[in-house]
Symmetry: C2
Subunit: 196 residues, 2 copies
DNA sequence: GTCTATATTGCGATAGAC
DNA sequence: GTCTATCGCAATATAGAC
């Protein structure tokens, strides 16, 4: 604890997160995690109470970051277009900061929600939803966004499109997450069509 | 076999698909499937060679239907806007016809791709991708779609948004999959903004 | 076609030496 | 903090009676 606060813990969590994301939580064994780290499976239980304990830490950190960023977006008042863009940017940034956790959430929410321990995943999902809804409905109310499309539908389409970028997007030097964010916002707000 | 060609098989596959979709393939046990059907787990092996055998049948039927529909869309030549719409409709229809399989694919592709048996999932994914790409690039080439957005990015955003509707959309009398398809197409092509 | 019964393997987790 | 060793259990799958 003195000079090595939790380096080993972090290493374990990193390996575990990668395995959980790639193979699924249920299909990943504690022995595989231990192998990756270079220790024996029993030794993991000095650091964590259980496999689910590892998942818990990974997901908690992810969701706290996510919620913080989403609250900041709501707190900053600007025009509707900019607010949608800020939500897109916040989503992409948190996914970039926690890529494994984001993928675990995408793949394994249903599975994890079977454990009472992970009930908080539901709350986080609802907060994300409410944030999107608020931004969209505000835009409609102000006349900036079309009123003929249901906000609940719109929120799902945009949210999922952005979220799932974790499965395919890897930033490069000439196409960064800023570029992707701009393109997402532009597609959602302006559409694909040229002439009108 | 005479008058009961495969009713029981179908019942088993139905229960299995629902469980796989809700809890994940790896986390679903053959005992749970057997319980659901009202037989003992050993009896399942009279109908299927293994748990993966069941997944295989579920996913094969889904992907064949999907590929057939996507090929039909490509075969029918119309304007780019209509073609994008047709892809959206085809996606939503196949998801409606195989809701469990669609969800299994979303949640468990990575897991399933670990088995050689499921290598065909990769091919199907690529065919879907290529179909979207062809339609989008055609639209750009014809000047109907904006050329400043990369087709590969666009395809992913639209495809994932439509695909993931399987997680939240349940058709009702006054909001059917036709309505959802219209709204998807309208959002993607016209955008959310009112004034320009 | 389903049952009983069980083989076999691999899992999560623990106890205690070092 | 990691190892050795292992417990207890649940998983997939099989064999053979009915």
């Amino acid at each position: 604890m003195a000079r090595d606060p939790g380096v080993r813990r972090e290493a374990i969590l990193g390996s575990a997160a990668a395995l959980f994301a790639n193979k699924g939580v249920a299909a990943t064994t504690v022995r595989q995690i231990a192998d990756e780290v270079g220790i024996l499976s029993g030794s993991l239980y000095h650091h964590f109470d259980s496999k689910e304990g590892m998942v818990d830490e990974i997901m908690s950190a992810y969701l706290e970051d996510l919620q913080t960023r989403f609250r900041h977006v709501l707190a900053r008042a600007t025009d509707p277009r900019q607010r949608v863009h800020n939500l897109v940017v916040a989503s992409l940034e948190v996914v970039e900061a926690h890529p494994h956790a984001a993928e675990i959430y995408q793949n394994d929410v249903n599975y994890l929600l079977q454990f009472e321990r992970f009930a908080y995943l539901k709350n986080a999902g609802e907060e994300v939803r409410n944030t999107w809804l608020q931004v969209i409905e505000e835009g409609i109310a102000q006349g900036a966004f079309r009123g003929d499309l249901d906000a609940k539908i719109l929120h799902r389409l945009m949210r999922d499109a952005v979220w799932l970028s974790v499965r395919w997007f890897t930033p490069s030097a000439d196409y960064t997450i800023t570029h992707l964010a701009d393109d997402c916002t532009s597609l959602f707000l302006d559409g694909l069509t040229t002439a009108r």
